[in-house]
C-alpha cells in the first residue's frame, strides 16, 4: 500500500460568473507500474491510482481513467467554468481500494 499519499490542489478562491478557471492537482504516489522487478528479480506488483475525478458542486469537471504510463506523483491541469460559488471536490482512487480526497472553495461574484 502506498504510504504518505498527500494530495495538493490549486484552484482560485475567487472568480467572476462564467469565468473559466485553471485547476491544478498533484498527489504524491509511487505509481508502481507492475512492470518493474526488485533486486531479486521478482515483479513488483502494480499499485497505481487508476482514476481521478474533479467535481464542482457535485457535477463532473473531469473524470480521468489512469494507466501505469502516468508518471509517479500524478499531475493534472485542466479548466472549469464556474457559474456560482461552490466547492471543487477532488477524488483519487487507488488500486488498493484507498480513496484520497481534497476540496477547494471558490466565491463567484
Amino acid at each position: 500500500m502506498a504510504e504518505n499519499v498527500t494530495p495538493r490542489v490549486r484552484a482560485p478562491r475567487e472568480a467572476s460568473v462564467g469565468e473559466v478557471v485553471s485547476v491544478r492537482t498533484l498527489i504524491s504516489h509511487p505509481m508502481e507500474s507492475g512492470m518493474r522487478r526488485d533486486g531479486d528479480g521478482n515483479v513488483i506488483p502494480r499499485s497505481i491510482i487508476n482514476r481521478f475525478v474533479c467535481t464542482f458542486n457535485g457535477e463532473v469537471v473531469v473524470d480521468v481513467t489512469m494507466e501505469p504510463s502516468i508518471a509517479t506523483n500524478p499531475y493534472f491541469q485542466f479548466e472549469a467554468k464556474v457559474m456560482e460559488s461552490g466547492t471543487f471536490n477532488f477524488t483519487w482512487y487507488d488500486d488498493d481500494g484507498s480513496v484520497y480526497e481534497d476540496s477547494s472553495d471558490i466565491t463567484v461574484s
Partner: protein, 140 residues
C-alpha cells in the same frame, strides 16, 4: 452527456469489476489495436485537436503532455512504444471549462504519443507527436 453522482458510482463499480475479472484486458497488444478498439475502426481527422509534447524529453520517466480538442466528450491518450500503450482517458463533464488537459507521463524510449478525441457527433480526431527520449551518458 450529464452524469449524476449515482450513475457515476455505478460506472466505476462496473469497470472495476471488469478489470478484476479480465485483468489482461487492460493490456492492448499495440497502440493501433487499442485505437481501433476505441474508434471502432472509424476514420479520424487531424483538425481540431492539438497535442503539445516536447520534441526531446529530458527524462522519459516524467514527460509533460498537453492535449486540447474543443467540444470533445473524451480524449484518450496513448504512448505507442510503451509495454501497455494506454495512458489515460479524460472525460469532460458539464462543468469543464475547456476540453483540454495537461499531465505527466512515462515514455519508454523514443516513440509517438497519440491523442484521440471523441466528438459528440460520434466522429474522432487524432493528433500524433513524436517524442525523442534522451539517453544518459553515464552508467551501464
Amino acid at each position: 452527456m450529464s452524469l449524476t453522482r449515482r450513475e457515476f458510482v455505478g460506472t466505476s463499480l462496473t469497470s472495476a469489476a471488469a478489470f478484476a475479472a479480465f485483468p489482461s484486458m487492460s493490456f492492448a497488444a499495440t497502440a493501433d489495436e487499442a485505437i481501433a478498439a476505441y474508434t471502432g475502426g472509424a476514420a479520424t481527422s487531424d483538425a481540431g485537436i492539438t497535442l503539445i509534447a516536447p520534441e526531446i524529453a529530458e527524462n522519459g520517466n516524467t514527460v509533460q503532455i498537453e492535449v486540447s480538442a474543443p467540444g470533445a466528450e473524451e480524449i484518450i491518450m496513448f504512448a505507442a512504444g510503451n509495454p501497455n500503450p494506454n495512458v489515460a482517458t479524460f472525460k469532460f463533464g458539464p462543468m469543464s471549462g475547456s476540453q483540454a488537459a495537461t499531465t505527466r507521463i512515462r515514455l519508454a524510449g523514443e516513440q509517438d504519443v497519440i491523442a484521440i478525441a471523441k466528438m459528440p457527433d460520434g466522429s474522432f480526431l487524432k493528433a500524433v507527436s513524436n517524442v525523442k527520449v534522451t539517453i544518459g551518458g553515464c552508467g551501464g
